[in-house]
Amino acid sequence: MNTVAEPRATPPQGRAKLADREGVLAPLFLLPAVLYIIALVGIPLLLALAFAFSDVTVGDPSFDWVGFRNFDAIFDDPVFWRSLRNTVVFTVISMALTIVLAKALAMILIADFRFKWVVRFLVLLPWTTPIALAAVAWLWMLDSVYSPIDWVLRSIGLSESNVYWLGKDTLAMASVIAVHTWRIVPLAAVIILAGLISIPNDIKDAADIDGAGFWRKLFEITLPLTLPVIAVATLFGAVLTFTDMSVVYILTRGGPENATQVLPSYAFLKGIGSGDLAQGAAIALFLFPLLLAAAVAILRSVKKMETF
């Protein structure tokens, strides 16, 4: 038996296939995403810019340049200022709550215990529920007559009558913030969890050996090391909150008396509800510089993460 390998007689053959040509593949694979962004983000953005300086309405879509008239109008509109303030309050408070709760939740999720997967599954559930369904469920939970929360409060003697969660200014805002936080915490927790997992075990062990207790480890080791990740989670959350109107729209429609009106819901109300597309566009444009700043901040945090 001859076990020595014969040298291969045939020369290398065949030619580069399409799958080997990166110069062709790269643009080809990017194309759908680029088309999608142009069609659904780029064009609407340019349209919004154009509409903001026009008198386009649903009834009269012809384009006439009107300069800054729409902006003058919304600056004179107290509801616009209230919406802007509400948007900031809504975003800042729900983000602050989200970060604290998500960090605590992430620390629970990283701990090793029995039935960990059940808990992880339950924690993620709010995020996977379609927002419309979740908000409708909360609408019932916060109902002025049938609210089970009221019922519990009444039966343990903490409340005499119904609370009217969505009927009073501050309570309505608190309810909207609570529901939105409930919805966004799981996502933030999972992002922060990923950050916690990426801290090498040796570093946690070294902190134990070096005598650091729970709070010192939290504030001197885990928080600084996960700060870039937390920043990304916060900024994503802020963008999602800032542009979100689903919770507000389903729970309160901006009420009572515009107490929970936010910029996106007000833009929708003006532009689609009352048909004044030009004013709606002008209101929505106020989101743009703030979102741009958030995007820059996100990119910076990501860059900082790479330097560790």
Binding site: D205, A206, I209, A212
Partner: protein, 362 residues
């Protein structure tokens, strides 16, 4: 500094202080994976003890159990004569250097070194003075304001040592601290590590899989395999008088030759198998015939691979001739080689344990 009792013999008078003592230590995971399987070790004050073994032998788990990062399943850990089972690491007065050094990446070198003192609630001035002292001892004063990512591997290792030293712990635990350095730096760092320990005189337990490190650093070596300590003793004793065939073949490069004879194995180190004419004496040597298959020339030494007949069963063995022996040898030669009887070791073929000397010839 009190002289350690490296051989572990009993002295007359009061027993020397034991820095670390392990009694019947056992560690299992998930109830059935045994990582450490009944280890008893005593280390004297100021002793340099090396835990040596292949990966997965339980040496790192043992070290982590001493540190308090793992809880013993059974048995006791004593530090300075007190049982520390159940105590968290911070209460154990131990310092540890990790294989990855585990420096805090967001803190400067100074902050890294001072961190353990901060946890002791020492004042800022005192902390910085002490961190400066530790940094000076390791020659890294000029790096104090840098971040870990701006340091070379060797510098990181010194920072990790300074951080361990700064608390003046009663025990240093080092987990393969040299394995992340390149080969050239490693030899240098090994020498520095030894000098450093001699200067500070702190009891050190050092984990490694590298036998050169173990031989070079340890006052005593504990050879571990499958969760058990196979032998513990000074480097020379462990090398020359291995307790079993595992220790015999794990130590030494190339390892000890083992030749089967009846129900025994005859062991001898490659450097003791020499051309017969170079082994003096007649009655106290064993000669055998070596069929040379291959010769490797390695930095002056010659490693001779061949088949040995005449001691026991025909076996592939390795002989190592130092550069000073110039006897001409060729592939395919059949030559008489000999071993001094004092260099022969005997092991039970069944259990692998060393036994008393056997008759030289079957």
């Amino acid at each position: 500094m009190a002289q350690p009792s490296p051989s572990g013999e009993r002295h007359d008078g009061p027993a020397p202080a034991l820095a670390v003592e392990l009694r019947g230590l056992k560690k299992t995971y998930h109830g059935d994976v045994v990582a450490v399987d009944g280890v008893d070790i005593e280390t004297g004050e100021g002793e340099y003890l090396v835990l040596l073994g292949p990966s997965g032998c339980g040496k790192t788990t043992l070290l982590r159990t001493i540190a308090g990062l793992e809880e013993a399943t059974e048995g006791e850990v004593l530090i300075g004569g007190n049982v520390v089972n159940g105590l968290p690491p911070r209460a154990r007065q131990v310092a540890m250097v990790f294989q990855s050094y585990a420096l805090y990446p967001h803190k400067s070198v100074l902050q890294n070194i001072a961190f353990p003192l901060k946890a002791e609630k020492m004042s800022k001035d005192e902390r910085e003075r002490k961190a400066g002292w530790a940094a000076e001892l390791l020659g890294i004063e000029r790096l104090l304001s840098r971040k870990p990512r701006q340091l070379s591997g060797g510098e990181r290792q010194r920072v990790a040592l300074a951080r361990a030293l700064v608390r003046e712990p009663s025990v240093f635990l080092l987990d393969e601290p040299l394995s992340n350095l390149d080969a050239k730096l490693r030899a240098l760092a090994r020498d520095e590590l030894k000098q450093f320990q001699e200067r500070v005189g702190t009891t050190t337990i050092y984990v490694t899989h590298d036998q050169a490190e173990a031989m070079g650093l340890g006052d005593r070596i504990a050879v571990m395999y499958e969760g058990k300590v196979r032998q513990i003793g000074p480097p020379r004793e462990v090398y020359e008088d291995p307790a079993d065939t595992f220790v015999a073949t794990f130590l030494g490069a190339p390892p000890m030759n083992l030749v089967r004879r009846g129900d025994h194995l005859v062991g001898f180190r490659p450097e003791n198998l020499l051309p017969a004419e170079l082994v003096s004496g007649n009655g106290d040597r064993v000669t055998a015939s070596l069929d040379i298959a291959r010769i490797e020339y390695l930095s002056g030494d010659r490693h001779i691979y061949g088949t040995l007949t005449g001691i026991g069963e025909e076996t592939r063995v390795i002989a190592r001739l130092p550069a000073t022996i110039t006897t001409p040898l060729e592939d395919g030669d059949k030559r008489d080689f000999a071993i001094h009887e004092r260099d022969l070791r005997f092991f039970d073929a069944e259990s692998g344990k060393q036994t008393a000397a056997q008759p030289a010839r079957a």
